[in-house]
Subunit: 317 residues, 2 copies
């Protein structure tokens, strides 16, 4: 099958490739064309997933399609952007019709959930990997960044952490568990829902934000550094799921939350008086610490004593 | 070396990563932010290059950096867009400092030549490949597309064709030639200069345009199909370089021009009276045929007879 037929059959005809708000021209020319309204800016993020590194080389292509787009769209959530479109650069060993059809369906499902239009890309031959670039719009000057956290702000997260990292032995088939434990954890790994609505609601509320992809400690380190502050995290406040604790116990669950990665939930700082406003609509949001003067990220036990933090975060090399 | 240190050392500190016109926020947050002026649209294109498929697995990283960006920027030229920014998703087996420094320098050189700012990306571990997404701005409604060619238009190309395809045996070290032959051909392979200024000049002049990446015949086929017309190409008018003809003879040079790919020169259609205006500033532009009623691409000999066209274009699978 030629490249053009492949694109036509599985991607160009997908519902998500039929355009959307802000899409002037989609698949089929040298470039896509996006429109940006007066007073808005375009948020752009690129993520690559490599087989055997970011997902198992042998896995369900439908789930992979879902996950690939979710991971990228999470960066739009972190900026408070409204989703517009994405491009898909897909590198494949071979054009396998069954695989492609399932992958395109998974992609389509997440695109519909995020209201993201597929506007272009590239298909190439080579070891399986995919690079997605996502586009969102945000009112000028209102994007959430990592650099605005201020002393006295609270540190919050968008929900339970550690599930995806804890699910990895299940994902890799190294471990089995009862359905009531494995199913919610596998779902958190394969289809993390980007917190897009929460991100948009945080515009004008949060002072700093990002999405947790490399582990809470490592990613909070980015906020601390960019904002020139220290972040104190109270270990006991970190929300952990019952399923994760049942699978691996509380201590290892906490370790997954701190350093495991793949959460794709928002971490953000905001003045204390704004927390109740956010929690009214997002009860899963949890305050886990505070912003103080200083540098770095400090993990505190129940007595407020600093715990020696494990070396944090997924290292890509 | 960690991912963040790697990005910081070789990419975030590059001159092209220090922002530019239209860049509100570059490397360092979850998303980059681009500004688009009122009345303009954003053109977006993504291209992947895989080691061993799109470039030799062992090659000069400086040249590879140049070429990777040139290939992508050529799509902006094809739309008549003014370059703004790009993202780089780089997948590497290992973080080799010498390789990365040279690659970043080559990228920087092409970025400066094209006035493209590096605004973000991703570095991942895996088989060597890179996906670049480029952004340009274009006045609303003025982007060059593939679909506007009309009966009576002339078919033109932006310069000599076939050099990059003809250079491939030199690139792969399978063949050697005197410097006066090999150097210009290798330069056309490794640093094809995107015809950005020509593309912008064609706004409001050309009725259809694209960049030739898969070979003249295959790419003209896209214009013919999208515009609902036939294209006649006069074989004798196709511009071939003296170096290419000296290397492989006229017949094989023509074959490279027709079906070889990797030219990254513009092909476009325009009303006959506009050709002299364009050629006044771009004397390398050549009229090679015309738009007629019908379907497909037809290659004509000097007597105007249809030549059986070779099967055209690079097939990605």
């Amino acid at each position: 099958m030629g490249e053009f037929e492949l694109i036509q059959r599985y991607f160009a005809t997908a519902p998500c490739a039929q355009g959307g708000d802000g899409v002037v021209r989609g698949i089929g020319d040298d470039c896509a064309l996006l429109a940006v309204s007066t007073g808005e800016q375009l948020a752009v993020s690129t993520d690559t997933l490599v087989a055997g590194v970011h997902f198992p080389a042998v896995c369900d292509p439908f789930l992979l399609g879902q996950r690939a787009l979710a991971v990228s769209a999470s960066d739009l959530a972190a900026m408070g952007a409204t989703p517009v479109a994405f491009t898909l650069a897909l590198t494949l060993d071979q054009a396998d019709a069954v695989w492609l059809e399932a992958f395109a369906k998974g992609l389509q499902r997440m695109a519909a959930a995020c209201t993201l239009a597929l506007v272009g890309g590239d298909t190439t031959r080579g070891p399986l990997s995919m690079t997605l670039t996502v586009f969102g719009r945000v009112p000028a000057g209102q994007a959430l960044t990592r650099s605005g956290a201020r002393e006295g702000d609270l540190l919050c997260v968008g929900g339970q952490l550690g599930d995806a990292a804890g699910a990895l032995p299940l994902v890799l088939g190294q471990h089995e568990a009862a359905a009531e434990i494995s199913e919610p954890l596998l779902a958190r790994y394969w289809s993390p829902m980007p917190q897009l609505a929460l991100g948009q609601a945080l515009r004008g509320q949060a002072t700093a934000a990002l999405d947790i992809s490399d582990g809470l400690l490592a990613d909070c380190g980015h906020i601390a550094k960019a904002s020139g502050v220290a972040l104190q995290i109270e270990a006991a406040r970190i929300p952990l799921s019952a399923a994760l604790c049942a699978l691996i116990g509380h201590e290892r669950a906490l370790s997954c939350a701190l350093s495991g990665g793949d959460d794709y939930r928002l971490a953000f700082t905001l003045p204390p008086e704004r927390l109740s406003v956010i929690q009214a609509d997002w009860p899963e949001v949890r305050m886990i610490g505070q912003v103080v003067a200083g540098r770095g990220v400090h993990l505190l036990d129940a007595a407020g004593q600093v715990i020696e933090a494990p070396h944090g975060g997924y290292q890509h090399f």
